[in-house]
Symmetry: C2
Subunit: 333 residues, 2 copies
Amino acid sequence: MSELRQNPATKKWVIISKERAKRPYEYTNKKKNLLDELPPYSETCPFCPGNEDKLPEEGIIYERKKSDNEWTVRVVPNKFPALTRCGNVEREEIDNLFLLMAGVGCHEVIIENPIHNTTIGLLPKEDVAEIIYTYRERFLSLSKDKRFKTVIIFKNHGEGAGTSLEHPHSQLIATPIVPQHIRHRIHEAVGYYDDWGKCVYCSSIETELKQKERIVSETEHFTAFVPFAAALPFETTIIPKRHAATFGEINDSEISDLSKILSNVLRTLYRKLNNPDYNYIIHTAPFSDKGEDYYHWHIEILPRLTKLAGFEMGSGIYINTSIPEECASFLQK
Amino acid sequence: MSELRQNPATKKWVIISKERAKRPYEYTNKKKNLLDELPPYSETCPFCPGNEDKLPEEGIIYERKKSDNEWTVRVVPNKFPALTRCGNVEREEIDNLFLLMAGVGCHEVIIENPIHNTTIGLLPKEDVAEIIYTYRERFLSLSKDKRFKTVIIFKNHGEGAGTSLEHPHSQLIATPIVPQHIRHRIHEAVGYYDDWGKCVYCSSIETELKQKERIVSETEHFTAFVPFAAALPFETTIIPKRHAATFGEINDSEISDLSKILSNVLRTLYRKLNNPDYNYIIHTAPFSDKGEDYYHWHIEILPRLTKLAGFEMGSGIYINTSIPEECASFLQK
C-alpha cells in the first residue's frame, strides 16, 4: 500500500507509491551519455572562448579569472530574455479584473566553465566554487535594483530538463514580483515559526541528521538529503546548517564547503544514474527578507527521470515511484 | 518586450514572452500521427472488448451500454493504483515534524470507447456525452465515501503527457485530503468573493465574452477560451456559464452541451496541431463545498508542447512563448 507523506516546510502531500515503486538502479539513464561525444571546444558555441562575437551586444556582464588570459566563469545576457532590464513596474488593471505589467527584470546566463564538454559533477571543486562566487555576486548586485524583488538562480541540465545548449551553464532571472510559489512557502514557514518558535528548515536538518535515514552527504557547513516527502526520484536538498534566509548571506568558507558537497552530489548522480537530466534551483527568501528568522535558503536538485502527468498538474500532488530512503542509500553507497 | 500577466482566479503571474514567441502554426506536432498506425482492436490491450481477462481482479466497476451486447464506456481499477480503497485516514506524526498517512483513496481508469484507435476529438458527440455521464456518476458515487475529500478527474493523452497506454482512457483519483493546490485556488476565490461580492470565475466568463479576444468556442451552457494569463501555448479553459462549485452539480442538458464543446475543442487541437500530447483536468471544489458561491468548476486543457524547466519548477512562474490572443484566433479559424 502506498503512503501519503507531507513536506513540513511546504505542507505539500506526496504519494509514495510502493505498488509502482522501482528499485533505484532502474532509474539509470539508458540513453547514450551524450557528454562523451562532445568536443572540448565547439566553433559554433557562443559560450566557448574565442567566440565572443556570437554573444548578444551587451557582451560580458561579469567575469572571474584564473590569470590574465584565462577566465573560469562568465556572465552574459540571455539572447532571448524572458524579462528585460528596462521600464517600470507600474501595474495596469483591465476591466477591474486582469493585472498586467511590463516584463521588467533581468535574465542572465552563467557560463560555468570555458570547457565545452564538461559538467559540474566532473569539475574540480575550486572551479565549482568560482560558479558559486559568481552566483553570490550577481545575487547581491541585482538586489540593489529596487524594481527587483528576488532572483531565481537555476540550472537546466539535459534536454529533458529544458535546455538545448550543450555548453555547461546556469541561468538567473530577477523578477519584479515575489513569485506566489515562494510566498506560499514563506507563509508556511512563518506559520511553523509562530507555532514552534524556530525555523522549520532548521528543524528538518536536525531531524534528518538524527534519523540518519535519508542523508546523502554531510560537510562542516552543509547537509544533503533526500527529503522525507520527496516529490521526485532522487530529489535532493542541499541546505546550510547555519540559519540564513537569503542566499546572498552565504560566506566564503560556506562557499568553499558548498562547492564540495554540490560537486559530490552531482558527481554521484552523474556516475550512478549515467548523466541524468536534472534541474537545480537555489531557493531563497526575497531580497527584503534578508536576516529573517523563519525562512532558510537551500538548493533543490530535481532529477527529471519521470514525466509530470495530468494528476500532478491538476492537484499539485506528486506520485513518487521511488522510496526516499532507498534513493538516499543508493546515492550514499 | 515581454509582459507579465496575472491570472485573476489563481493570482499566478505568467510571463508572456514576446521575444521568444513563436507563431501558432510553429507548434504543430512534427512527429508522425501515431494514431494513424494503430489498429481498431489490439489483442494485447486490456481495454479492448474481449480482453477482460487482462483486467485487474476487481473487474468492471461501472459500465454504460448502447445495447445488451455493446458497451460504450467502462470504468475499471487502475492496475497499479496510486491510492487504494482500504484503511483509515488517521495521521501519524514522526518526531513532531513529519506527517504520514496510509495511501487511502481510489484510482480508476475510464475506458472512453471500445475502439482502440480513436480519441475524444474524433468521436461523435453522443459518445463523448457517455464519457461525461460516467465522470459524473463516479464523482457522485465516490463523494459518498466519507474518507474522500475530492476527486481529480484527468486525462493524459500521448507520451509527452505521461501515458504509455494507447487505448483512449482517462483516470480519476479520489484523495483523502484536499490538495494544497486546490486550497490555494479556493483561498483566492474566497478573497475575490469577499472583495467584489461575486465569483471570480463568473467575472472572468463575463469579461472574456465582452472582450472577445480569447474566445475559442461558445455554446448555450459553456464557454471555451484561452485564459488572459495562459501558462502554456493553447491552454484552454472550458467553463459552465451557470455557477456551480462542484463538477457533480452538472445537469443532463449541460452534459449534452459539454460533449459538443469538449469534442469541438479537442478536434480542433487534433487537426490544427496534428494530434498533440495534452492533459486535461476537471477542476472542482471539494465534495463538502457543493453549492458554495465562490468556486466554479471548470476543465483545464493543457497541451504539452513545451518543457517545464528549472525556472518554472523553482518559481511557479511559467514562461509562455505564445500570445494567448493569437492562440485563440488560430484555434477559432
